[in-house]
């Protein structure tokens, strides 16, 4: 499992193993201040990072910065 979230400390507190930090609480996987193309890039980057994290063996709680 990978947990994508903005407030990493909460994710650590609840015990997630793989954590991918996201943008902001109202819009974790997007950024309304970016234009359409840049936001698309940002979203893809985050999802790819999460997919990579899923395929990575971890031995404890790991934050994928």
């Amino acid at each position: 499992m990978v947990h994508m979230c903005t407030v990493v400390p909460i994710s650590l507190t609840v015990g997630a193993n793989r954590i991918v930090p996201t943008v902001a609480i109202p819009h974790p996987l997007g950024n309304p201040s970016l234009n359409r193309e840049d936001e698309k890039k940002l979203r893809r980057k985050l999802v790819e990072k999460a997919l990579n994290a899923l395929q990575t063996e971890v031995s404890g709680q790991t934050v994928f910065e």
Binding site: T6, V7, P9, I10, A24, I25, P26
Partner: protein, 428 residues
């Protein structure tokens, strides 16, 4: 900074030909109040109502509650940076119409949207069932964006509070309280043997109609800073409103912050109250890290021996609370936290979204998930149908008979994290 707060005890409010205070009665010129409140071309209409303790009245959805105050001497005016110039306030003399509150309501949902019952079981949960309320229903012109709408209603309420406060400008107060905090080095010297206490005053700043304002600045944009407690009493901190009404601080509670009141009560007796550090609760992790770093640094710089930290709201702001706690504790400074709980309807769930072992002294102001049932009221000011969509309510919350079944969080101030609420607990 030294402020005299002159409390004029109001026994009764009623409409009259002119707005004035006579022998403890506040007379209000209804048309003039509506005119002052509506002085904004983005406002289409203002209706004025009175709601007194014990009357079967429900006010829903409530936007803000504000205490009528006016500067009598000293720099500036109330609510600086919003309806007065940005002079530094908190000195001289301020008069208060004690017992009166301005309550704003309107159709917009999505910010400070709870309710006040003036009678029945709901009245036991909100401090604003005990005040004589001047209720303003403010409706904007068509097509106003919701952020603009929030601002328009917020400023309208402040104008009304100042207008009413002005009626007390030349009235001899029933009693005068004096509050004084000196510049740091002098303040430390005044009581060198007493522990130095700093108050970390967290302000809700989640954006999207969830903001607080400091001297007119959206507190989301501030770096944590020092503020004299008396500045707060003059309206330097204003509510920008927020959902989940139970634990947001209406402007009235900022003006009467009980943490500040109680620290002054013990100032010079068993502690030395150094002042307040205001900080925010933003929506990105880097903002949370920056603000808690700055808060801890400032608290250390002020030489605090102990710190009281109050949260505003819940959920991700629990992380700001926890970060403030452990970063200050790591500097060897003791902390006490004030927060409410979202512990589920049965009270058995984890109370906060985040945690730290350093948080070993916490005051709880209640469980906001508790289910309550409110009987119908004879009169409803506002829009009762929002009961189904406000935070704490669900579809079906509003019964056919006008009763409301919902979580405690729908009631303004019910679990207030400055301790202004009415809930208490007793050990068995």
């Amino acid at each position: 900074m030294r402020l005299e707060v002159g409390n004029i005890l109001i026994k009764e409010i009623q409409f009259g030909d002119r707005t004035e205070v006579k022998e403890g009665v506040l007379f209000i010129n209804r048309e003039e109040l509506a005119k002052v409140t509506g002085e904004d071309d983005r406002i289409a209409s203002v209706d004025v109502y009175l709601a007194k303790p014990g009357e079967e009245i429900r006010i829903i959805p409530v936007k803000d509650v504000i205490e009528p105050r006016i500067k009598v001497s000293g720099k500036g005016g109330v609510f600086p940076g919003l309806i007065s110039k940005v002079d530094t306030v908190g000195e001289g003399r301020t008069h208060v119409l004690k017992g009166v509150a301005v309550v704003t309501t309107g159709r917009i949902v999505g910010f400070q949207e709870g309710l006040i019952d003036m009678a029945g079981p709901g009245a036991e949960y909100t401090p604003f069932s005990k005040t004589m309320n001047v209720v303003l229903k403010v409706e904007p012109v068509e097509g106003l964006h919701q952020h603009e709408h929030e601002r328009v209603v917020r400023l309208a309420g402040l104008r009304a509070a100042e207008y009413l406060g002005r009626a007390g400008q030349h009235v001899e107060p029933d009693h005068v309280e004096v509050y004084e905090t000196k510049p740091l080095l002098e303040q430390v010297k005044e009581y060198p043997d007493l522990p130095k206490v700093v108050y970390v005053y967290m302000l809700q700043t989640q954006g999207l109609l969830h903001n607080s304002y400091v001297y007119g600045v959206d507190a989301r944009q501030i770096i944590p800073t020092f503020i004299y407690p008396t500045e707060v009493m003059d309206g330097a901190v204003v509510s920008g409103n927020c959902v989940s009404a139970c634990d947001k601080n209406p402007t009235y509670i900022h003006q009467n912050n009980p943490v500040i009141q109680d620290l002054y009560e013990r100032h010079g007796k068993d502690l030395n109250f150094i002042g307040c550090v205001i900080t925010n609760e933003n929506v990105t992790l880097s903002d949370k890290e920056r603000s808690s770093n700055m808060t801890a640094k400032l608290v250390e710089f002020l030489g605090a021996d102990g710190v009281i930290i109050s949260e505003e709201g819940f959920g991700n702001p629990d992380t700001d609370l926890v970060m403030n706690c452990y970063k200050i504790e790591e500097k060897g400074i003791k902390t006490v936290l004030i927060t409410d709980e979202y512990a589920g309807r049965d009270g058995a769930s984890q109370s906060l979204a985040d945690s730290t072992e350093k948080g070993d002294a916490v005051v709880s102001t209640g469980n906001a998930n508790e289910i309550i049932k409110l009987p119908p009221m004879k009169t409803v000011i506002g829009y009762p149908e929002v009961a189904d969509i406000i935070a704490g309510g669900t579809e079906g919350s509003l019964g056919e008979d006008g009763s409301i079944t919902a979580e405690l969080q729908i009631i303004i101030g019910s679990t207030n994290e400055l301790g202004y609420g009415l809930l208490t607990a007793k050990g068995r």
